[in-house]
């Protein structure tokens, strides 16, 4: 009996191939985007873990040279012999690879990532041996023996300090890590190694934390598309059940027990769901593989985080994709099975599509929507933190989506009363009658279009601001990086002689107001006065900075430490200065404090400027002169145009991923409409047949279908504009502020929205084209059959 029953159930799909396609494709698309995004996130997270464990850098204090130079090995030995438990690290580059040498015997982290891999063939005396992953190994010179270690961060090769010294041709050290346990009675650093200073462990600014926001962004997109995909699944399941009511009634009348039927249907739907999800996981892998290089570029550009460019099939994402797809299906299925279980044996097999949308259901939906929107409002007023931001987004989007059918019902009822002539009256009434079934697809379209409006507004506003920011900040025509204090002094002397305006930049890292902060010393001059624009400032901020009586902080620091113009900030243990201005800074996520050059030198007398901005009319000539006179390599110099181009390239790549995900969600929404219309087509014959019988031609009916799709899409688009703008506002003022520490001004791009509106209309038109064509080609006999049983 089971087999007969199953075959009867499956016959439904054979007769409705479009439905099974919709079901599988809906699930596949939903799972694809979800698992694709998860795959990217998993890959990135694995890379961060590798980076953290490879070097374990962030967790220990360091001793670094005061001059920003390297450290003599004798200094290291002097410290050890004084009892300081420090361990040497040398860093350098071999081509594109960052090579890090440590002493595994004294390192507080041991060999980091290599630890987990079991015994290592450590040989201090043998040929040059490094550890790296396969990708990095390809970039290392051929004469280096590389032991492949997948857990090591990309772009990094690890080795013994002695071996790395040999490979780099050096005999010094880059910095020393300080072990957490130190012996009692240890002498002061100043007496043992006066040239070094203690740099506290980086707290609260690990790469993983910085990039959290970016991954949350991706996850939100993944969830959004998953929700849209589940709309498809939900509506397909609904239609399939409505259509199968007569069959279920017949099967039960023939004596199939309810339990057997429910079990079989559950097995059938979940089995299909698993197939759909598996297809989705394969697609997801492909999406992730295509997007990963862009994501990698983004993370490198924004945060300096290296992530592996190759994708691994990790259980954490493909299993979660499978699970969430099957669970989503099960949720959609549960309600329907409940209905079957409660359905009286000989209940009418009348399709529910005939039932007008019940007023009660709409009221419930309206209430739910209102509650969510109120929650969104409350979150926007009182919410704290990134998660609250995303919760706000969720409430806003779902609330708006739930409200859509309610609004449509109201709007269509009005249009119906305004309609002239019976055909238009019928058109609007019929549209309204389809609303309960179409509304899921329309909600999907609403979400996709408003996400598009919101995200593109955010990205374009960001870009506009960023370009302006680059113009302010990159005023000097040439930038030069030097290696040490001696070179710095020679360069400055040379440039002064040549009467160029020099903007030396002194920098060091510090902990200010509890935040890891970059401290900058600048030579206040016309360039700064002319170009920097502030978010808020005292009347003459540069005069105060120049006098050493005030500082400028960037927006990130201002927000995190809640320090604004007029507030006082502690720059060193015995110096507090007021903030003269807060400057927008869209180039990095860290906090910054800008001091005058003189004040900086007083606080850090050992530091020399290692970066210079130079105003010049002839960049190429000056570059050549600097190389010729001082031996500074051309590669240590970059001109303004190149930096700008590079920065914009990074920016644009950053949002390639966002744009790609946007297009994909729009596609999924278009597909949802197509599938709903297709599955509706057959159900609607009994409603269309009387109209046809009254004299409307099939062609006219087909045109009506197209017109309806376009009209509905237009209405959706009208609703999507305010929703999209609200979304953009949340992204710009709440999510960005939390994630990056900067608030961006919102700009509007009406031309873009218009274009997007056209796309949405076209998507709806295309989606309706096939069902409409089918309708036009319906044989009159099929339409006549509707009346066959009416006596």
């Amino acid at each position: 009996m089971t087999r007969a029953c199953l075959s009867a159930l499956m016959s439904h799909w054979r007769r409705n191939p479009v439905q099974i396609f919709a079901y599988l494709a809906g699930l596949a698309l939903a799972t694809a985007l979800w698992s694709g995004v998860q795959a990217i996130n998993a890959e990135a997270r694995a890379s961060y873990d590798a980076a953290e464990t490879t070097l374990g850098e962030a967790q220990f204090d360091r001793l670094v040279s005061r001059q920003g130079a390297s450290i003599d090995q004798d200094t290291y030995l002097a410290l050890r012999r004084a009892g300081w438990q420090v361990s040497p690290v040398i860093e350098g580059r071999l081509g594109a690879v960052r090579v890090v040498g440590i002493d595994p015997i004294t390192s507080p982290t041991g060999f980091g990532a290599l630890d987990a891999g079991g015994p290592l063939p450590l040989d201090f005396t043998g040929p040059a041996q490094l550890f790296a992953n396969a990708q990095t190994a390809r970039d290392l010179p051929d004469d280096v023996t590389v032991t492949l270690t997948p857990d090591i961060a990309s772009g990094v090769a690890l080795g013994d300090v002695g071996i790395v010294q040999r490979l780099l041709g050096r005999d010094d050290l880059s910095y020393l890590t300080v072990a957490p346990m130190q012996p009692m009675g240890r002498p002061d650093l100043a007496t043992v190694a006066p040239t070094l200073r203690l740099q506290p462990a980086q707290q609260g600014a690990s790469v993983a934390q910085l990039t959290d926001s970016f991954h949350l962004n991706l996850t939100a997109f993944g969830l959004l598309s998953f929700a849209v995909g589940l709309f498809i699944v939900h509506s397909t399941i609904g239609l399939a059940f409505e259509q199968r009511r007569p069959m279920i009634r017949t099967l039960r009348s023939l004596g199939v027990p309810l339990n057997t039927l429910v079990t079989l249907i559950t097995a059938e739907m979940l089995g299909l769901a698993a197939i759909g999800a598996l297809i989705g996981i394969v697609l997801g892998y492909l999406i992730a593989a295509v997007l990963l290089p862009d994501v990698a570029a983004t993370l490198r550009g924004l945060y300096g985080a290296e992530i592996s460019g190759t994708l691994q099939l990790r259980a954490e994402w493909w299993l979660s994709g499978l699970a969430i797809a099957v669970l989503g299906t099960a949720a959609a299925l549960a309600g329907r099975l409940w209905q079957i279980a409660r359905m009286p044996l000989l209940a009418s097999a009348r399709p529910r599509a005939w039932v007008m949308a019940s007023g009660a259901r709409l009221r419930v939906q309206a209430l739910g929507a209102t509650a969510l929107l109120i929650a969104a409002l409350a979150l926007s007023l009182f919410g704290q933190g990134l998660m609250a931001g995303f919760a706000l987004l969720g409430c806003l989007l779902i609330g708006a989506a739930l409200l859509l059918p309610v609004l449509f019902n109201w709007a269509l009822a009005h249009l119906q009363t305004l309609a002239k002539g019976p055909v238009w009256g019928w058109f609007w009434a019929d549209t309204r009658q389809q609303l309960p079934t179409l509304s899921l697809a329309l909600m999907a379209l609403l979400l996709a279009v408003s996400a598009n409006i919101g995200v593109s507004t955010m990205v374009s506003s960001f870009r506009t601001t960023f370009v302006a920011f680059l113009d302010q900040r990159l005023a000097p025509e040439l930038f030069v990086q030097v290696d040490d204090a001696a070179q710095s002094a020679r360069l400055e002397a040379f440039l002064t002689q040549n009467k160029a305006e020099i903007l030396p930049l002194l920098s060091t890292k510090a902990q200010i107001a509890g935040q890891p902060t970059d401290l900058y010393g600048v030579r206040v001059g016309q360039t700064y006065r002319d170009n920097w624009q502030f978010l808020g400032a005292t009347p003459a901020p540069w005069d105060a900075v120049q006098a050493g009586t005030a500082v400028i902080v960037n927006e990130q620091l201002a927000r995190r430490a809640d320090l604004w113009v007029g507030d006082s900030v502690q720059i060193s243990p015995d110096l507090d200065l007021p903030i003269a201005a807060v400057v927008g800074d869209y180039g990095n996520p860290h906090g910054q404090v800008v001091l005058s050059e003189d004040l900086f030198r007083t606080l850090h007398p050992d530091l020399a400027p290692l970066q210079f901005g130079i105003r010049t009319d002839d960049t190429d000539q000056l570059r050549a002169q600097i190389t010729a006179a001082l031996g500074i390599p051309d590669s240590a110099m970059i001109n303004q145009a190149a930096i700008k181009a590079m920065s914009l390239a990074v920016f644009d790549r950053t949002f390639t991923v966002t744009a790609a995900l946007n297009v994909l969600t729009l596609l999924v929404a278009g597909f949802a409409i197509l599938m709903t219309l297709l599955t509706l087509a057959d159900l609607r014959l009994p409603q269309l047949a009387p109209v046809w019988a009254l004299g409307l031609t099939r062609r006219t009916l087909g045109r009506c279908e197209l017109l309806r799709a376009v009209a509905l899409a237009a209405l959706v688009f009208l609703c999507a504009i305010p929703l999209g703008l609200a979304l953009a506002w949340v992204l710009l003022t709440i999510i960005n502020t939390q994630a990056f520490g900067w608030k961006l001004p919102m700009y509007l791009f009406p031309a873009d929205y218009l274009k997007l509106g056209l796309y949405a209309l076209m998507a709806a038109l295309l989606a309706a084209l096939w069902p409409a064509t089918r309708l036009m080609r319906t044989r009159p006999s099929t339409l006549l059959k509707v009346f066959a049983n009416e006596a």
Binding site: Q73, L77, R81, I105, G110, P119, L122, D123, P183
Partner: protein
Amino acid sequence: MRLRPLAFLCLWPIAALAQGFSGLGTDAEGFAVPAPNPSFSFPADHGPHPDYRIEWWYLTANLTDPDGAPYGLQWTLFRSALAPGEGEGWQSPQVWFAHAAVTTQDTHLATERFARGGIGQAGVTADPFRAWIDEWTLEGADVDNLTLTARGPDFAYDMTLTADGPLVFHGEGGFSVKSIEGQASYYYSQPFYRIEGTLTLPAGRVPVSGTAWLDREWSSQPLAENQDGWDWFSLSFDDGSKLMGFQLRQSDGTDFTSSTWIAPDGTSTAYPSGAFRAEPLAHSTVAGREVPTRWQVALPDRGVDVTISTLNPNAWMDLTIPYWEGPVTMSGSHTGRGYLEMTGYE
């Protein structure tokens, strides 16, 4: 320092200390192997022997403060070679590590240090004698007159040592056999130090004085495959005589023992396996393991039959390589103080 890389790095040589010597076998892999009838040359042999795999300068002391409260002190410098010989700078295959500990009746403080050979962070020179790692030193004009210092996060000590007797050579003139198959080490001691100085403990500084015992040993294949660990005793009796005895526990349940009787004037008699006996009387749970902390020790040939009690049963060296090491007292045929080391109790 995380355990794994070091445990690996030192897998063979250091494991011998704590985890028995299974896997070490008899193959010395290019390292020099101790040979019978050694002729030592001093002061040079107080210095390192890089062609051998493992070597130590092992000092233990029984101390008392002015109130008569007993203390134990340990200072050990280990040399462990990844390959025979020396190398330039970081390329040296020599790895150094050291343990320091102070034991009182109710606390046991221990710490450790690590260093690469070849760069000057640790090493030993014979003349003048100087053994060091980081700021820890054991040094002096010669080994009879030394100063000793070590520092940890919660304790430190600064001591001076003066030897009142000659060096004592174990086994056959310093060739100390460790198994029936003939594994052996070079092994001699200076058991006649008077020691005094200051312990810096969490509670404050404590002046102390007492006696100390320095062991010097080097080898390349110290144990046989079937040996799991050892129990080593250095006992100083109140009548001035001394006894060094150890037993290597074998996987078949039998023991290989070795011992040296040292008369008050320093003349010594070595005994072959079987002459010295040590039986556990009671165990204590220490660091989650059952460790014997009362022993019956006998050398019938000298009329020695004593019960050994630990000053502090919890003298567990909770370091990268864990083992038990602490001061003991004895009663029975003889009375006195000494040190006990137990390895391989996993």
